[in-house]
Amino acid sequence: MLAVSPLRNANNEREGEMEGFSMEGSEFPDFSSGNLLDSIDFDDLFVGISDGDVLPDLEMDPEILAEFSVSAGEESEVNRPSISSEKLEDIESKQEKVAASVSASDLGSGSSSPIQGEEIVSRRNHEPVNPSPKDGDKGRKSMANSKNPPGKRKVKVDWTPELHRRFVQAVEQLGVDKAVPSRILELMGIDCLTRHNIASHLQKYRSHRKHLLAREAEAASWSQRRQMYAGGVAAGKRDHLNPWIAPTMGFPPAVPPGVPHFRPLHVWGHPSVDQSAMHMWPKHLTPSPPPPHTWPPAHPLPPAPADPSFWISHPHQVPTPGTPFFPPPHLPPTRFPTPPVAGIPPPPMYKVDPTAAGAVAVPGQSLPQPPSDVHPSKESVDAAIGDVLSKPWLPLPLGLKPPSVDSVMVELQRQGISKVPPTCA
């Protein structure tokens, strides 16, 4: 039936006409005569609308209001076959216009001027600008298909390596500490990700990085201490003056063969790759875990050379030649729920050691406050520095692009240093 409930209120006193809208056949004698439009006094109708007591009712959602008019139209078509359909459509369209303009007036003008039929039409012409008629039609649809309100439902996101790579790129671009989920989302440009997905992934990423840096710094000091405890062969050679003259200065003689050269951005959290890598590592454990064979056996793996550069800023940077590259493909599995791979301690370096070198006491879970804190401990720093001096062949932890020697020399000479290393320290 023509649901003119808002109108009905106003027009209760005009029972004859309003009741006519209820589409009871008996109450629409005029309809059957065919002079439907003539019989409906729209002026009265709208006057009724302009009444004060009608407008408050119209506070209701314009969508619902429009719904009424639309559904009313449909219903009347279905249920009242006796009424000529075109007349009904007219009524329906009028209803819509009424609803639209009423809501328009409710929303926009707020005026209570009587709305004449002609005004309705003219206003209708302006309606396209006003969202309410469109809302009316689409109201139901939009409500039916509305996106899940953010925060109320989480769609499980599969963080594939590709997806993660784009994520890391976006984060690096923004700066990892400044990266805001909404900006990351924009940069990634993937619309099936919600801000919430990004936010939680970012949180994991950051904590992961911190662990990496912590571990790396810890490795430096641990290795130093181990060297000292292991007989002090290297420690005994604390020759600060000569290491750079040593013939072994430079890169390690040979890149260990069979180093799984993972691209840094590659395999974070991806199950299949992790599994394949995982299968590799245990095999390499006993036969030839690359790092321990290259360096003194008591020495645990190098201080995660790839990790900081992995996460920090040069994801695409190939490490300096000769530097065995050990991105931690296994790091994610223990930290992130996505990969089903289990049982792998976060850094492969540490995993290798217990079996091969048998010296690593830190499985990676019991890290104290990392030196990357605001105030690095002097001992750690000292240890790291000592390590570099005594073992110049060690790979650089960050793998930064080295400056050209010439430019450094020129600059030094400008500062008054003509010889390097200087004879007087």
Partner: protein, 83 residues
């Protein structure tokens, strides 16, 4: 110890290595200069020069590094937790 180019190169490489270690510890250039002078007998001016050259070659990295350090400075209590 002469000004042989290869020894210079080796020296500079060593200084770079030391600087990178300091960066792992989130140190500033000044802190690094002090640490290298104290622990490795390297003149601060050399450290600072190499640092600056590294910065030129790795602009993005150092920019991000500085940002991170600022972040940490302003949020001392959350340096370890999620930030």
């Amino acid at each position: 110890m002469g000004s042989d180019s290869s020894s210079s190169a080796q020296y500079i490489h060593m200084v770079q290595h030391l600087i990178e270690e300091c960066i792992v510890f989130n140190m500033s250039k000044e802190e690094c200069m002090e640490a290298l002078s104290k622990h490795a007998n390297i003149k601060p001016v050399i450290t600072s020069t190499v640092w600056k050259e590294l910065e030129k070659e790795n602009k993005e990295f150092f920019e991000a590094y500085e940002k991170r350090r600022e972040e940490k400075r302003s949020k001392p209590e959350s340096s370890q937790s999620q930030s």
